[in-house]
């Protein structure tokens, strides 16, 4: 293992935190209209592991740094890497993400506009979304070959999200355009979740039901502009469980099961997040 691999491995395995907002629904892939609170900085580590048939087992980690610029604008940076058994550990790329909430009041369906620039190579195994005809057999190729192919793309998402009776239901429609001359690629994600308790407890507890949320999500690819549809794409679905600690950290776990032959049997996911409150106050003058 060379020096770069060692450094990346340490960064991947030792990075302790990844955050989800205290009120954020328990999703890995799906976005809701809940934005990062203004002034808060969230650092999150999203981990995914799988042992696909006919391909080497892999582990991928995404480090997320999210900041609430205003109550209607959240910015985020992702750094990604992966390690494949019997192969190598590689840094796979980065993403800059922006989410805008155009309507200032709560509606039955709340839209959020998402714009992202991504620069990653084909060795990316983060499964943050699925577009095009991405299938699990793509992972059979060695990292050395995959990382040579770099993709720079702009991705847009239309996020539609609703809250009712403590439930959240979110739908994401994804459109991605490689900046080289390639067609538009599409994907989708749907999630639903709920806190285990409607009311808060008057007791000073750390593991009350109100701190737990359960949910589920479904996501997959929709092909390209010229070949749109579910055919030849992968689909995953699974339950999620989140613990929103009153001490600002969140742990979300869940398996996601492949629903067709183009998918891995199971993606095991773990997300750990920590939220630093009101970071902007550090840069304010005392009044």
């Amino acid at each position: 293992m060379n020096f770069r691999s060692t450094v990346l491995s340490v960064a991947l395995f030792a990075t302790p935190v990844a955050a989800a907002q205290a009120q954020e629904p328990p999703y890995f892939v799906t976005y809701s209209h809940i934005m990062e609170e203004p002034g808060n900085l969230e650092i999150a580590s999203q981990n995914v592991g799988a042992a696909p048939k006919n391909a080497n087992p892999f582990y991928a980690q995404t480090l997320e740094v999210e900041y609430g610029v205003t109550a209607w604008y959240t910015a985020e940076v992702y750094l990604q890497g992966q390690s494949t058994l019997h192969d190598s550990t590689v840094f796979t790329g980065f993403r800059f993400e922006n989410r805008f909430r155009p309507l200032r009041s709560e509606h039955r369906i709340n839209p959020v506009l998402y714009v992202e620039y991504e620069d990653h190579n084909q060795a990316d195994k983060s499964f943050l979304e699925i577009t095009d005809h991405a299938v699990i057999t793509d992972q059979q190729v060695a990292n050395a070959l995959l990382r040579a192919s770099v993709e720079r793309a702009v991705e847009g998402k239309l996020i539609l999200s609703s809250n009712f009776n403590g439930f959240n239901l979110s739908e994401n429609i994804i459109a991605e355009k490689n900046l080289t001359n390639e067609p538009w690629e599409f994907g989708y994600a749907v999630g639903a979740g709920r806190s285990l308790a409607s009311a808060a407890s008057a007791k000073d507890c750390r593991f009350c039901r109100e701190y737990f949320a359960v949910g589920g999500e479904l996501f997959g690819g929709l092909g390209t502009r010229y070949d749109f549809g579910f055919k030849g794409t992968s689909i995953y679905a699974g339950p999620t469980l989140a613990y929103n600690s009153p001490r600002n950290y969140t742990v979300t776990v869940g398996p996601e099961f492949g629903l067709n032959a183009n998918s891995a049997a199971v993606l095991w996911r773990l997300k750990v997040a920590y939220e630093f409150s009101q970071v902007r106050d550090l840069f304010r003058r005392t009044r």
Binding site: Q23, A197, S198, E210, P246
Partner: protein, 138 residues
């Protein structure tokens, strides 16, 4: 480069201006929401639970003692005392995103009403203003 810096400064200024709380949200509350009463039967227990929710979710911006912080307003205030329970619940649900207050719509209804009960315990109610647009604007 200078033009870019000017645009960035303008953006930051707009964001800061938008962050100033001025109570104008009161004008947007529908009458039906304004008239709503806290449905939780035991207000003292609700306020006690609401204090925990406040400490976890609200104190980071509005202060541990609801004294306000920076341009985020105090919640022990004349404005909160004059607001109806329904107005406070509406604000928690909808937020006032252009002024910096996030929506807490993902929080279940009961939990939001607990926060309202806690705010009310800190601000005993006074007669609500008939026309919020003519009220005191801090």
């Amino acid at each position: 480069m200078r033009r870019l810096a000017a645009v960035a400064m303008l953006g930051v200024s707009v964001c800061l201006l938008l962050g100033a709380a001025d109570g104008s949200w009161l004008r947007r509350v529908p009458d039906a929401d304004r008239a709503r009463l806290n449905p939780l039967p035991d207000k003292a227990a609700a306020a006690e639970a609401g204090a925990h929710v406040y400490a976890a979710e609200c104190a980071r911006c509005h202060g541990d003692q609801a004294q306000g912080r920076g341009n985020r307003p105090p919640l022990k205030s004349d404005r909160v005392a004059h607001a109806t329970d329904g107005e406070l619940a509406w604000l928690l649900k909808n937020g006032n995103s252009w002024k910096g207050m996030p929506s807490w719509s993902s929080m279940p209804d009961a939990r939001r009403w607990q926060v309202v009960a806690y705010l009310r315990s800190m601000n005993p109610p006074v007669a609500p203003r008939r026309d919020p647009s003519q009220g005191e604007q801090k």
